[in-house]
């Protein structure tokens, strides 16, 4: 049973003195899956990841990785995993090639270093010192370090945080390439678009627990409706109950000086909304619609923005 799972964890709890970082988290990641842990800063994503990576001890809970446990099979697991930490500074005065050779030397089996350099498109920077690389190149090198051991399972902790849009897309291509090779990838992110683009399934994590789990599309359809209508009116007080029960509407919430209405059918709700505002003598200040995203899922679930 568990052999078909890359990761299985039950009732994971991690306390740091008085702080509860992970509070009873359950997770199952299948082999070959690209799975995203999504949540705001401090949600417990990194702590969860580091327990799964065998870098910190959980306070309680069961963890199985590739059907093995850290206490019994640490060395075997280390050979079969690749990880990037949220923040690692590699030695400034080593070249890309030297760093990768060093990491390659730790593994019994692995990939050819030049092949990995090509995989992350760093051929031109092969002989450049680490300190000369851009943020995106450094991050791709970090991923390359995780790949030299030819891992079955990859952990990427916020691989694109702080990168410019172009570097993010380059990194996404690397991850999509790994997916195509059939690797299992577990990544954390607080970018919705990243999770929607890369992940087969996501778990939304808040305050150390999984509060929603599914494919990005499922979660959006289930929790956020298909679209969000955002509008603001000038002054007048609105009847929020009436708005929430407009045809095709799901829920109303206040948002950035106005309201956000999650809806299933934009073409039905918008005319009804306009008619309602007209009748309430509330002059419309602005109105826009967008397709629902994981961001809306998070706001719906917690009432907070992801990137607060």
């Amino acid at each position: 049973m568990s052999e078909s799972l890359a990761i299985r964890c039950r009732g994971l709890v991690k306390h740091y003195e008085a702080v509860v970082a992970v509070d009873g988290l359950d997770l199952e990641v299948g082999r070959g899956e690209c799975f995203g842990l999504l949540g705001p800063n401090g949600a417990g994503k990194t702590s969860t990841l580091e327990v799964l990576e065998g870098l910190i001890e959980p306070t309680s809970g069961e963890v199985e990785v590739l059907g093995l446990t850290w206490s019994a099979d640490e060395r075997t697991l280390r050979e079969r995993l690749g990880i990037t930490l949220q923040e690692t500074r590699l030695p400034e005065k080593l070249t890309v090639l030297e760093i990768l050779r060093l990491f390659r030397s730790f593994y019994l089996r692995g990939r050819n270093v030049d092949e990995v350099i090509a995989l992350v498109s760093l051929e031109e920077k092969r002989s450049a010192w680490y300190e000369k690389l851009s943020g995106g190149q450094k991050q791709r090198l970090a991923v390359a370090c995780a790949l030299v051991g030819d891992p079955e399972l990859l952990f990427l902790d916020e691989p694109t945080t702080g990168l410019d849009p172009q570097s993010r897309r380059q990194l996404w291509d690397v991850v999509l390439g790994l997916k195509a090779e059939g690797k299992t990838v577990l990544l954390t992110t607080h970018y919705m678009d990243e999770a929607e683009r890369l992940c087969d399934r996501v778990a939304i994590v808040d305050r150390g627990r999984v509060i929603a789990l599914g494919t990005p599309r499922e979660l959006i359809a289930r929790l956020a409706g298909h679209a969000v209508v955002e509008f603001a009116v000038d002054g007048a007080l609105l009847d929020e109950n009436a708005l929430g029960s407009l045809p095709g509407a799901r829920a109303l919430r206040r948002s950035a000086g106005g309201y956000a209405l999650t809806v299933d059918r934009v073409h039905v709700t918008v005319p009804a909304l306009l008619a309602h505002l007209e009748a309430s003598r509330a002059p419309l200040e602005r109105l826009s619609t967008h397709s629902a995203t994981l961001e809306d899922v998070f706001v719906t679930l917690t009432g907070r923005q992801l990137r607060d």
């Binding site: 870098l55 990880i83 923040e87 030397s105």
Partner: protein, 340 residues
Amino acid sequence: MSLLELTLTRLRLFFREPSAVFWTFIFPILLTVALGVAFRNRPPEPVSAAVEEGPGAPELAAALRRDSRIRSQVVSHEKARTELRASRAALVVSPGPPVSYTFDPTRPESRLARALVDDALQRAAGRVDPLRVVERRVTEPGSRYVDFLVPGLIGLNIMSSGMWGVAFVIVETRQKKLLKRLIATPMRKGEFLLSFVFLRMLFLALELPVLLGFARIAFEVGVRGSLALLVALSLLGALAFAGLGLLVAARSTNTQTASGLINLVMMPMFLLSGVFFSATNFPEVMQPLIRALPLTALIDALRGIMNEGAGLAAVARPALILALVAIASFALALRAFRWS
């Protein structure tokens, strides 16, 4: 395989850091040159005497000029007093009769001047010494300041490059979260630590020939005892300080704390262990403590081997101290070491 890569990595990082190369290789040479030149053996400085003007003064001055150990000049009464007060003259000679010497008997230099001046004047006046003596002067290599200094500097270098090269580098690796990244690979922790010890040995193989070779060429400082014993003791010293470095690095999470700790460990030895002057100058009550310091042990052993040709038996005690420090510090450090 990974031990080789780790050691190569350490070597590359060292040689790409100009300041590290400077402090390890260039600085000790500069220090040897500076101190070797400053304290080189010169002919003894002549004493200076002022001869007061007056009848008979030229004759006195002429008698003093014949003695190369005395420098004299004829000056006015007031000027002579000023020279004496300012210590530019150690003694004032006033023509007589009787010839008088004015000097401060609490100044050794003045007492020496009195003896030399009196000797010169008495001989000039016709004194004959009844006892025949000959002088034998000793300035042979092995007893000069530079001979004392070079083993001290080698010891100092082994200490400071060991402490910085191990402690600082490990703490920096930890601070950058690189240590955490490394232990997330199958890297064997023992190999990581061993790479530092290997590096210290490699460095010793460079440091020792450079320093000894330079001291030999520039100052003719030689090794009287066994070269193999010298290398063996240096190696023990390098291990002891690598161990202490590891201990300092065991728990520190940032380089500022580590630098402070490194200095805290090194400073007492820098001052007390007799790098620049003999540790026996310190009070008797401090001697047992000073003798137990690893740097004192190392320097005493190096000095013994280089200057006195000491054999294994003579350096057994310092060798034992170094071995104990190495074993104890490695054991403690490994127990306390924080990997993440």
